[in-house]
Symmetry: C2
């Protein structure tokens, strides 16, 4: 029997929340947030209870936060974890004998009963606790004991002992130094996975360093570093690099995923490893590890963090294929198995056998890969296809790494079934790619956001909304053109605290390899794609504006503050986000990339801090214009070919 | 971390339901019911899974019931516990390597790929399992192995080996004899508390044996036994007797709860114990223990079970007060504490100190009390005020008793806060008194029933709806007169599978001790109340009819099959209950005891098995009349001074 209350089981603590899968997985929180815990607490009989939320930081002992009774035997308390790492929390409750005695005494004295024996009982209760009371307070308690034991002639409240019995200062001392010898404690204590703010909030920019050269020259860490201030200038927080390791030659894919590569084809960075090294090496074409360090340092200077890809798979040329053939799967003829999704074959990739007999060595080697990059300043890993790897490996390695490096963040690139994505998040991934790319209509967006915001998923699953990736160019962007790019940017950046774009988005790149495909034509996965970011009419100013809104408004950094507002047009969606002490953000967005839409908004004024009667100002950050509104119904019209969105600050 | 999956953790089992407070408490079920279990099951990678619901009866080893995939990684399976006692259940899941191989082979052969190595892999998979396959099936498997290993020239489905590979009979054998070596099993297994049908379904009748004499003569077990066939004739299943033990003299309460008793006052049966004995003695005025045995035997003959009161409290004259003063609470002057609810004092009652140092002896003595009455044929205990006793005691004693006597049923008489009532149910009480008496309007009734039927309470809380008790005569009955008695009977008996009435209900007894009180005038708790059950115009024929409906319709024996039907009048309520293979019951009830109400019913035709187009017959059991209805909207009119209810059988 689990979650059992030990000790004084006359007090029963149930329904402790939050709790994830009965404590099998850790609930997640962000450093600095208020973490609230509730529980149902009852005991048999009429005695009064007190309860305390007990919590423990990764580095200190247990501390207490008082819990208060919300009614219907439900209690609540909270604390603010101030460091990343694994915290613990539980609930303790005990019978408050003195408060019970005092409550009953009030009733007895009110009824004019003789209370001589009851006063003696009170003196005994105080005496029993006297030693536990700090020395400086003992005088007060001793005085009460003496008063209770004094002889008295009068009855009721005229009895001077009665006043001593219900003295507030004595009651406060006793409440503050309770006897928890028979306390019930919810067991086992629950774990809380606290992460730094970036685990929830960040704007990501993905780019291939090798594309920062010219049409003929392979880019390097040095040329890539030259892009960093422009990326920072757009307001991004994280630059994510696809794998930077040596790329295999055997079965290398050519341009547009051709089965045979031309001699000068650069290959896919996800075909990791060659005679030049594996997961801890850098592709010599990009430079040396020192060059990488310079790149990381330059990023830091302009306020960017570097996220690396962690793709656990090998090209046939990876050193492990010869040094550790036992780390791979084998066919009956003894050859190493290449990746397959029958009938598709990926002969340039060897998947790893996580259940190998030699798994202790394998798992530790993979952990060392992460430690290597952490030692080079990387604290964010975008994990490639974690659902095709091993669940127990992820739970183990994320735990091991975060125990030493609690600032490390793992993003799961798992485009798979919802419950598999959920398990990865529960196992420890800080955040996850999502189905956002395929949610385009108002119905789809509202339904999906409500699932993310209003279900148990808030306890463990943090979304990262990518507008596009090197693998996903959605039809909506292919067909919708620049307005579609603006619309999807506003959705990604202002619905989800974490979001990202893949390089080229700012240039409206939108040609698919063929109709009906989500793959890019001339995909950067297989060739260099140098770009001219100075092109006129790019999305760069708008990206800058949206990222600025995110940075200026703490409301954008949270997920669960999302509130929808009614709009009588399926092509327009409106939502707001509010944070304490701030003007709420209100976004009204035309989802139709081909033009003009109008509608009546029916605002949830309460969510905006506005009243039904009082006019209030809304300031449109996009247009730099203010309006004065009154009441919940407002006319809006948006031409997506101009600006598809109002992004209002509500000055109610 | 609790509920962890052991072994092959690549398979993750979560969200196993039903589960109560993470397994801290047992889910309840009734013998013979289908018990359904669901779980979310996923693994990393694309391999196929199989899952099994594992269960264990109190007396046998583990058995398996297959689980099937419902979609979205949710699986379900069930079994039918066929004996009362503690059962166990869990979920096991494993990778089905052969099925995965077979699925992939289909795709490869379809694509015309060379599959020589894959066929070898298949042969190896079959060989590995050959020893686990029953001897009589091995020939089939060996033939498949031979076929897979034969040389072949052809490709695709022309290859004779391909046909052997996907042979259905081989697939069925492999599925039926899976390799569970790496199976994941949800741990720890959960416990299921299975009880006999009476724990959910029964009609109770409470009466005081001592009132079966005359105005001047104290009733006895012998005179009480004479009432039994009439009670059975009304269709009741259980007779519940208030305490039958010797009654204390000290501070005995007089008629109408007078502080001082007259010499011939009989006292309250709940002031248990005198020099004539305590909890295992019978009041000599009622007869001997042999007389009690005869009473129980007579009850059994007419199809009635006897339920006894289990009230753990003592009169000051109880033998324990002198033999075991340490089992009680004490005041500072050394005297035993009487019961109090400050400022009220109950000097005729000593409560027990369950936390006494001598609690091992005390608890075992209390257990022996139950065992004593069980040895005299009692298998149902109505427990007096269990919430003022000890939670851990109840959990312990119910467990101890039911381990030896799995047919024993405990009814909690806990009129207290909802979560305290919930904890008692979770600790093991089979059923509970409820707030039903105070739910009189349609709004109140619907809200309360929905809480009982559509919340997690269905896992552990079984209601017993009493129309009245010796303590509760609701204002609705006091003022509503005979129609109110009919209305409340229909509600109690046809909303809740268990219900009860307290003697005198059939005679419409409804005079309170004073206005605003729920206590009876001349309460039977303090005096003899011989009654004339032959009075004309009693409720007896109607009780008989309603109990007959309950017995004839399995639908009435269940709680969760309740469905409401819309009625456009707040004074009329309509519900139905259906059971497989039966005509559904439809009740339409006028809640206004003072007369006539009419309304339009808007039926949930689906719940009645009726169609929108096809006319259907409804037979009113009360009026012995049939109607033909068509469509969901039907006019009804009910005069509560005549018959407040239609009780229809729906012949759709």
């Amino acid at each position: 029997m689990t979650g059992e209350v030990e000790g004084g089981a006359r007090v029963v603590i149930t329904n402790l929340r939050p709790r994830l899968d009965c404590g099998r997985y850790r609930v997640k929180a962000i450093e600095g947030d208020h973490f609230e815990v509730t529980a149902d607490i009852v005991r048999d009989g009429p005695d009064l209870l007190q309860a305390s939320l007990r919590y423990r930081s990764p580095s200190a002992g247990w501390a207490d936060a008082p819990m208060s009774h919300l009614g219907n035997d439900s209690w609540a308390g909270g604390f603010r974890p101030n460091a990343p790492g694994i915290w613990h929390y539980t609930v303790q409750a005990w019978t408050d004998h003195f408060a019970t005695w005092r409550r009953d005494l009030f009733k007895r004295v009110d009824a004019g009963q003789a209370v001589d024996l009851e006063l003696q009982e009170g003196a005994l209760l105080l005496e029993k606790r006297l030693g536990a009371v700090p020395v400086e307070k003992r005088k007060v308690v001793q005085a009460a004991i003496d008063a209770l034991q004094a002889p008295a002639e009068l009855r009721g409240w005229d009895d001077p002992r009665a006043a001593a019995a219900v003295d507030e200062s004595v009651a406060a001392i006793m409440a503050g130094h309770p006897d928890r010898a028979e306390a019930a404690t919810f067991q086992p204590a629950l774990e809380l996975n606290v992460e730094r703010v970036r685990a929830r909030f960040g704007a990501w920019y993905e780019f291939f360093p090798r594309s920062t050269g010219t049409d003929t020259e392979h880019g390097t860490f040095a040329t890539a570093a030259e892009r960093l201030s422009a990326i920072a200038g757009m307001g991004f927080d994280v630059v994510y690099l696809p794998p930077i390791h040596p790329i295999g030659r055997t079965h290398r894919k050519g341009k547009n995923n051709a089965l045979e590569a031309e001699p000068d084809d650069v290959g896919s960075p996800w075909a990791i490893g060659s005679e030049e090294g594996g997961h801890t090496a850098v592709d010599p074409k990009l430079g040396s590890i020192d060059d990488f360090d310079l790149f990381v340092g330059r990023a830091r200077q302009v306020g960017l963090e570097v996220a690396l890809d962690f793709a656990i798979q090998c090209s046939p040329d990876h050193p492990w294929a010869t040094e550790h053939p036992e780390w791979f799967h084998h066919r009956p003829d003894g050859t190493i198995k290449y990746a397959e999704n029958p009938p598709k074959k990926y002969q340039d990739i060897y998947p790893i056998n996580f259940a190998t007999e030699d798994r202790v060595a394998l798992w530790n080697e993979l952990k060392k890969v992460l430690e290597f990059w952490i030692s080079h300043g990387v604290e964010i890993f975008r994990v490639d296809n974690p659902h095709t790897k091993s669940f127990p490996f992820w739970e183990w390695v994320i735990d091991e790494i975060r125990a030493q490096h609690p600032n490390v963040i793992f993003l799961a690139e798992a485009f798979t079934r919802p419950k598999v994505m959920g398990v990865l998040a529960k196992l420890g991934f800080s955040q996850s790619y999502t189905y956002f790319t395929w949610r385009n209509t108002k119905f789809e967006l509202v339904e999906y956001m409500n699932e993310l915001v209003h279900s148990d998923m808030v306890l463990y699953f943090r979304p990262n909304f990518f507008t596009n990736t090197q693998d996903i160019l959605h039809e909506y962007l292919q067909q919708g053109g620049p307005p579609a790019f603006k619309i999807r940017l506003v959705l990604a950046a202002l619905l989800s605290p974490s979001y990202g774009v893949y390089s080229g988005y700012e240039l409206f790149e939108r040609v698919a390899v063929h109709e009906g495909s989500e793959e890019y034509l001339d995909s950067e996965k297989y060739e260099l794609r140098p770009r001219d970011f100075g092109a006129p009419d790019s999305l760069i100013p708008f990206i800058k504006l949206v990222n600025e809104v995110r940075r200026q408004n703490a409301a954008a950094a949270e997920l669960t503050n999302l509130r929808w507002h009614e709009v009588d047009n399926e092509a327009i969606v409106a939502w707001s986000k509010a944070a304490p002490g701030e003007q709420p953000l209100l976004v009204v967005l035309n989802l139709n990339p081909s033009g003009w839409e109008e509608a009546t908004l029916h605002l949830d004024l309460g969510a905006l801090g506005a009243g039904e009667e009082q006019p209030f100002e809304v300031y449109d950050i996009v247009k730099d214009t203010s309006y004065v509104w009154s009441g919940r119904s407002q006319y809006v019209a948006l031409d997506s070919t101009d600006d598809p969105a109002h992004i209002f600050l509500v000055k109610a």
